[in-house]
């Protein structure tokens, strides 16, 4: 029982950076922009968050800095793709490479430093409920923020007028433009949000999960976040599920090995990716439904000719 509690806590920690990164990218893609620079924005958030937390000893400022770093990177992407109409795929890849390089450069001064991890919140009474308490209600504040964000995005996309406009822009930017919505403005805002959450996701790694800075420490999580968005069929609830599923399989396979279950480690390492592929196959077996879900203008440049 105790081990199960620890495993589930581990799953939530492993999944949280993915929740942040994928929920932001989901909003971006819903507005019709494909930003492949998630990994780059995450790693910039990781170094900014770590550096500021270390310098000011304030996690709050560190997280703000991480969000800003991700947002600034996203603005660069937005300017290039929305104003200068550069290719979104190429620009996104470039943003990732740029982020990895720039973070390594900034990070030189911080490599070898170590921060105190963000402490967990203990909620009296609720945290003391056996099993459910420690699993669900004994985490650092960012875990709760990530779940609140997912709920907020769901509410925003489905229940608000602004969310409707954002979806309209993603589905048909020409029509949205024709009835007077600022397509570029909406997309800038979506990218800003996506950048900020990716930055926080990166900072979760560098100030909570492993409070240190090493180059390339996001190790591909940005790409996994992109996969989770597709996996979720662009729905916030499913993105949360996807992130927990991926984090869950990653952590559980490590425990399975430690318990000495006789399965080759390579199969276990494959598992998170296999599960992702499988679920994607299952979700998309109904072609019309899968296509309906993808924002129709995803990745298409918009130029207001009139």
């Amino acid at each position: 029982m105790d081990l199960l509690v620890l495993i589930l806590q581990g799953v939530i920690v492993a999944a949280t950076p993915l929740v942040f990164a994928s929920i932001g990218e989901l909003v971006v893609e819903r507005s019709g922009v494909l930003n492949l620079g998630v990994e780059g924005m995450m790693i910039l958030g990781a170094i900014a968050g770590f550096a500021v937390t270390l310098g000011t000893e304030s996690y709050f400022l560190g997280i703000i800095a991480a969000a800003l770093a991700g947002a600034v990177a996203a603005m660069l992407f937005a300017f290039l793709t929305q104003v200068l109409l550069s290719n979104q795929v190429a620009t996104g890849l470039a943003l990732t490479i740029f982020g990895l390089g720039l973070s390594a450069l900034i990070g030189q001064a911080y490599s070898g430093e170590s921060a105190t991890p963000l402490s967990k919140i203990h909620i009296p009474l609720i945290s003391d409920i056996p099993f459910i308490g420690p699993v669900l209600f004994e985490h650092d504040p960012l875990v709760y923020l990530s779940v609140i964000l997912v709920g907020g995005v769901y509410w925003f996309l489905n229940k608000t007028r602004a969310g409707l406009i954002l979806r309209a822009v993603g589905e048909n930017h020409d029509a949205a433009h024709a009835i007077g919505y600022g397509v570029i403005k909406v997309r800038f805002a979506a990218l800003l949000f996506g950048g900020a959450t990716a930055g926080i996701g990166g900072a979760y790694l560098s100030i909570v999960q492993t409070p240190l800075w090493v180059e390339d420490m996001t190790a591909g999580r940005g790409w996994i976040a992109l996969a989770i968005v597709v996996f979720s069929a662009w729905r916030p609830g499913r993105a949360l599920m996807g992130a927990y599923l991926f984090g869950g399989v990653t952590v559980i396979q490590l425990h399975v090995q430690g318990l000495g279950v006789d399965i080759d480690a390579q199969y276990l390492s494959m598992l998170p990716y296999l599960v992702t592929v499988l679920v994607m196959v299952v979700i998309s077996h109904d072609k019309t439904r899968a296509n309906l879900n993808a924002p129709a203008c995803l990745g298409r440049p918009f130029f207001a000719s009139s």
Binding site: G10, S114, L212, V214, G258
Partner: protein
């Protein structure tokens, strides 16, 4: 996606490398290929320290170039080839997975000298070099056996290659020799470098009762988790005390500098020959960091004695009788392991639980 990114970043790095290496011709050009980032504080970091030592030793007479974060596989061949084409006289490829790409490229550039770390295939212009890390693993194994209270040592392993398997066996045999009840829990993470995953593995092992951690991966993440949870750990490749001032018992340190300097010198003098170097604690290629104050004096003395005996050649970590995991005999009483067996080690020794991934 990941592959695309890697390719692009490799191409970018090469572009820069080529610009950077357009200097005078009298210089000896030395290329390095790293599997991780130089800032990993582990494996690649120490190779880069070796490169810096070469620069310091020869000053203007050498021009060094490095490409970091090169994935093991087809990308590696292209990176090595580009370095060869850019006029490097000697190229160090510093990960096991670069073995076949190195030989492939070496065939096409017979005048360029290649040095491949931790591999076992050589050619007229390809040397191999490695360190007997298992000697260090013996020393930390002794300490682990004495320090564990739960009799459970957690081991974070990367890939089931001889190098890693040797380390597990050496550490286990040493721990067992001082604590017959000790158990090793081995977790394979299938990566050399992923701090998040290494931390997850460390947490998993601790959750399952390990109170001493060893790692054969490159980042200090596990050390940090050990510090946070108040248990002990051993550093890997470099001194990781900064990440675990209370947790680190000691660390196995790779010191490539003397070898790199000697090999570059050989190229300059025209005396370079294809060789197979496998040095340990004795010649200084493997170092043991300062022992922690947390280790009781008698254990410290025992570990120090083992270290010195190994350095003097009086002690071999693999001395029989040793059986393989399935109970079949490997070494008879008093017999020491031949280097050939060690270089290709693909089995657990008796007593380790779980099966070795193939």
């Amino acid at each position: 996606m990941k592959m695309n990114l890697r390719k692009l970043s490799v191409a970018l790095a090469l572009g820069l490398a080529m610009v950077a290496s357009g200097g005078a011709q009298a210089q000896t050009k030395v290329g390095f290929v790293y599997v991780g980032p130089v800032g990993d504080h582990g494996w690649s970091y120490e190779h880069n320290q070796g490169r810096l030592a070469v620069e310091k030793e020869f000053g203007d007479k050498v021009k060094t170039t490095y490409v970091e974060n090169v994935s093991e596989g087809p990308d590696a061949a292209r990176v090595i080839q580009q370095l060869a084409r850019a006029g490097n006289d000697i190229i160090f490829t510093t990960s096991f997975g670069f073995m076949n790409p190195t030989l492939q490229v070496a065939k096409r550039f017979p005048k360029v000298k290649f040095e491949h770390a931790t591999g076992f295939k050589r050619a007229a212009n390809v040397s191999t070099y490695s360190a007997r890390f298992y000697e260090g693993r013996h020393v930390i194994g002794l300490i682990a056996g004495k320090m564990t209270k739960t009799n459970t040592v957690g081991y974070i392993a990367s890939f089931p290659i001889p190098e890693v398997v040797r380390g597990i066996n050496a550490a286990y045999l040493a721990a067992k020799s001082v604590n017959p009840a000790v158990k090793f829990k081995v977790v394979w993470v299938s990566t050399w470098f992923d701090p998040g995953k290494e931390a997850d593995a460390a947490k998993a092992l601790i959750d399952q009762g390990a109170d001493v951690l060893m790692q054969h991966t490159d980042s200090p993440a596990a050390m940090q988790i050990a510090e946070k949870q108040g248990i002990f750990a051993f550093g890997q490749a470099s001194d990781m005390k900064k990440f675990g001032p209370n947790a680190q018992l000691t660390s196995i340190i790779d010191d490539w500098a003397p070898y790199y300097i000697a090999r570059v010198k050989a190229v300059m003098d025209g005396t370079w020959k294809s060789t197979d170097t496998w040095d340990g604690i004795g010649p200084g290629m493997v170092g043991i960091a300062e022992f922690s104050d947390k280790i009781p004096a008698d254990v410290k003395a025992m570990a120090a004695k083992a270290r010195d005996d190994i350095a003097a050649g009086k002690l071999h970590p693999f001395t029989g009788p040793i059986n393989k995991q399935d109970g079949s005999p490997w070494l008879t009483a008093g017999q020491t392991a031949p280097d050939g067996d060690l270089a290709g080690m693909n089995f657990y020794v008796e007593g380790i639980e779980g099966s070795l991934p193939k």
